[in-house]
Symmetry: C2
Subunit: 665 residues, 2 copies
Amino acid sequence: MLSEMRVTAQSPQETDSAMENIVTEKKAEESHRQDSADLLIFIMLLTLTILTIWLFKHRRFRFLHETGLAMIYGLIVGVILRYGVHVPRDVSNVTMSCHVNASPATLLVNVSNRFYEYTLKGEIRGDDVQDNEMLRKVTFDPEVFFNILLPPIIFHAGYSLKRRHFFRNMGSILAYAFMGTVVSCFFIGLLMYGCVVLMKYLQQLDGEFFFTDCLFFGAIVSATDPVTVLAIFNELQVDVDLYALLFGESVLNDAVALVLSSSIVAYQPEGDNSHTFEVMAMLKSFGVFLGVFSGSFALGVVTGVVTALISFFTKLRDFQLLETALFFLMSWSTFLLAEACGFTGVVAVLFCGITQAHYTFNNLSPESQDRTKQLFELLNFLAENFIFSYMGLTLFTFHSHVFNPMFIVGAFIAVFLGRAANIYPLSFLLNLGRRNKIRSNFQHMMMFAGLRGAMTFALAIRDTATYARQMMFSTTLLIVFFTVWVCGGGTTQMLSCQRIRVGVDSDQDNSVSVAEISRRSTKQESAWLFRIWYNFDHNYLKPILTHSGPPLTATLPPCCGPLARFLTSPQAFENEGPLKDDDSDLILTDGEINLSYGDITVSTDATGAHSAFPSAGGAGAATSDDLDKELAYGDHELVMRGTRLVLPMDDSEPSITELQPHIRM
Amino acid sequence: MLSEMRVTAQSPQETDSAMENIVTEKKAEESHRQDSADLLIFIMLLTLTILTIWLFKHRRFRFLHETGLAMIYGLIVGVILRYGVHVPRDVSNVTMSCHVNASPATLLVNVSNRFYEYTLKGEIRGDDVQDNEMLRKVTFDPEVFFNILLPPIIFHAGYSLKRRHFFRNMGSILAYAFMGTVVSCFFIGLLMYGCVVLMKYLQQLDGEFFFTDCLFFGAIVSATDPVTVLAIFNELQVDVDLYALLFGESVLNDAVALVLSSSIVAYQPEGDNSHTFEVMAMLKSFGVFLGVFSGSFALGVVTGVVTALISFFTKLRDFQLLETALFFLMSWSTFLLAEACGFTGVVAVLFCGITQAHYTFNNLSPESQDRTKQLFELLNFLAENFIFSYMGLTLFTFHSHVFNPMFIVGAFIAVFLGRAANIYPLSFLLNLGRRNKIRSNFQHMMMFAGLRGAMTFALAIRDTATYARQMMFSTTLLIVFFTVWVCGGGTTQMLSCQRIRVGVDSDQDNSVSVAEISRRSTKQESAWLFRIWYNFDHNYLKPILTHSGPPLTATLPPCCGPLARFLTSPQAFENEGPLKDDDSDLILTDGEINLSYGDITVSTDATGAHSAFPSAGGAGAATSDDLDKELAYGDHELVMRGTRLVLPMDDSEPSITELQPHIRM
């Protein structure tokens, strides 16, 4: 391979330019055909996955999620490409090798006085150069994941996060996402460092492996993936608080892990000895973390708010196509803007999605609400399955795997312990402050549901230049496979084993009057963070940014009257009576809202009155509280999977049946 | 610019690899940020276009379509980039220049013994190298149009073509699309050759311009664009036969022009003198045309049929997300498959779209029908406006425009005459055979509506290597601008001036029983081609491929009984009585279908009985026939634009009012 022909400084020869043109064109055409064929492999893989997963759903097999299946098909195709097909590397394509003393992004090559422009694709290591052209062809530039595949996935996660229980559990979710991820990252990093030191001692290590590498590994495997578990939760209609905790945590910790990993990479002490501890570099890394995170957050929120304002002040809703297109473009521009500013596009897109769901969504016409949801649902589905099938493929086609048994065993233990060190202590601390305790079976479920998925993979494949990174990548791949297949596949069993309520149909309960429910559910509201936020959001942000919510004239102090009247839309005045807000049925009753107009301080404290919480999921005591939760369930959620399996769970079914007369009352 | 540093054959030096890595990474990051910013320009342009066009629609300005507006914004940004911003070309990026004796697709560059892979971007001509980095950055690879932007546009056109009047006018549409495009291509080619000879004589020509170039120009400007005119037709609800003729023609002639142009490029006589006439080369070109066209056609139809079969034999409709995803992937795979096989993806995608609309659409769940329509509508909208704003931009940012006044004037005249030579003689010939004549005001309208758009532009920009091609590109750009702004903007006036009926709301007429209408409309069916096709399609293809249509057991001869029972779905048996087919209300009554079961020969000939056709659009005579046409209108059509303008047209309005009592009867 790589036979060098040092053709240097030769005088330009005039050849038949027409003939050469034709040859170049033919070559480009051939290359384009090859690219199309390669992409076709993935499309076919996805088609196959869809058909099989349909069969599984149709026959109600539930042990394998579509992402797990996509990985299996990817594996099979990987094996075929690796051992079945052998396209030798086209020597004529790479024989040219010229010596320059730098590697610019663009290279002008002088061929017989014709200039050709080449763009830098990346570094090829001596041992990397593959002799199988096919394998090289199906290897994507890792940046594809961050620029094309992850943004729709993360946006969709943010866009479908708009749920009462997310905001109600906001404090806990933020704690899990930020503190939990950091704890998990450092815990895993330390354990792995121990493992690496031991390996060095046992001479199991063939290259350098620094502490920052261990921390980086900790960061990337701390990003949990909600996909598989939440798909099953959705189907089984699991307890909504658990759903909110898990979903919220997984969505936000992707963002945290991403920024954390880039801060760790940014840790570069001065001088030659680049792997010692240095306070300044550490502080700089911390600054990078804060700066990038808050910058991306701000950008995402700002574009979301701008979109909300545009849809608020224009009557774009009369033209659904324009509305949907604008929504799509604004959301995409968030990503580009963040990347252009040097922030993290994926993080910005997440917060943009949350803002769009919370504000812009209310201004959209019903058709556009459906359209945007369905559009991002489709993009999410395609991107996700593409990534997972690529994961399967890459186990065999990646050129420089380093599988080290000791490192792998160490990593599995560290990941397990890291998740435990995240969930249990944090839950204990949170339970001290929470009225609605996170029960121990919820904790076990959260522990079990810590799958690793697309984000972990994308972070691991982003840089596979050094020995340490290659070992990490191979190990990460195995961790993803294991968690998706084993933990993902065992979700149903785990739910049943932990006696978590499933099969609660929110439609059944809709006959109870909303006001009744809201009144009772309000009593449970104990999160002060949530209350402050809710009052501010409801009284000021919603009226300014959306057509829902009370008119500003009612919520602003009288001195701001003219401003309030200017900013209030005619629709909002109509809302003065009963609220038409999408969220109104979720959070507070009209009466309570009227009481809290104009004061942000938490006036109605619902403590004390209602503290009898079931501690172990007993059916009798749980009834009225659980009912509240279930009612809010499913309003904005994307119902993607049509079938339902009612598991034979002794404690949940009777309780619902018992409740029904009471509900219908 | 282009300061060469011939750094050749230097011995590899070991530099600080860590530092170099950082520099490379920084460079890649910088380049990525720049790319994001460039893409952001286009997103912002599209956003601006959407907001302005909303304002126009809101205020009911109708003189400028969104594509025309996108071009104007593109022009403005182009001027700013050209004269306002000046980012000097980053010299360090291009200083490296190495001499090799070929231009392979991949180049390995040895920098201090590290190998970097570069991919060929394209040839840069000495005079092309721009000193403004910004202009270079906003210039896309022309293949982007054919691989990313055109496929959704063309697919959408095909997918929305499923209309009764398309099939009823199939013969005429095919004649316009095939014969018309070929006539137009050669006519324009000959005129332009005359122009070029004259220019050579007057020494106005600075480079070579061959007859094949003229023919190529003829081919690319023969592709008419339906967008602008049809959007207005849609809004104004213009006569459906005219709509079908124009839409069908524009959609199909894009495909014909595309294949025609590639056949002309494929014309390469043997030997040195490559621009003489040679029968063999000509025949080869003709063979290429037939082969590529029929190959792409077959591929498109086959994947469409496969999708229909998959959706027929699975119950995928229970899972709309899977269904939509499969539909999208299969349609995309058509494109990739065609490209991988060396056919034309865009053409394959067109016929795939038509097949999907005709068969698969009937098997989809209602939700997926909406989703797929909306998805491709959105993609079409974004891609189209992107292309048109890029067109505006490129007038100022393209680096080697050749504006030759004489060529431009010649081209405008040739395009005008070419369109006339296409429409009028063909209409005359077609009218000899047509029962439902194409009236002269329709002919004028078709003449006027021959806008040039996305396909013409994409074909022109695909290859701008030679002087002739550059001149063609610049001229084409002007033709597109002129036709979109002037002809597009004048559509409403032209309609009113030609006294073509508008403002007919299909909803108003729905109160008449379908059977009544079908019976009457059947009498009009005179196109034998349509009849044969319809019978075959309805009796065999629809039952095999879709859940609609009569059961096969009723349509196949008795000897095929077992096969028919095997292929017939349970749903189809339920259809045995009144048809539930989506098309059933469009074409024939149940009674007639029962009569024609089992015989393909045209048994019910409706000639003679009904020949009183209005010759000049008189309101009284046109009533009952026109009514039939309007009824079928709008069933599968994508209603994109919400507003309606009822023009003060004396003859159309009263006729509807007159009709209404009769209809409601």
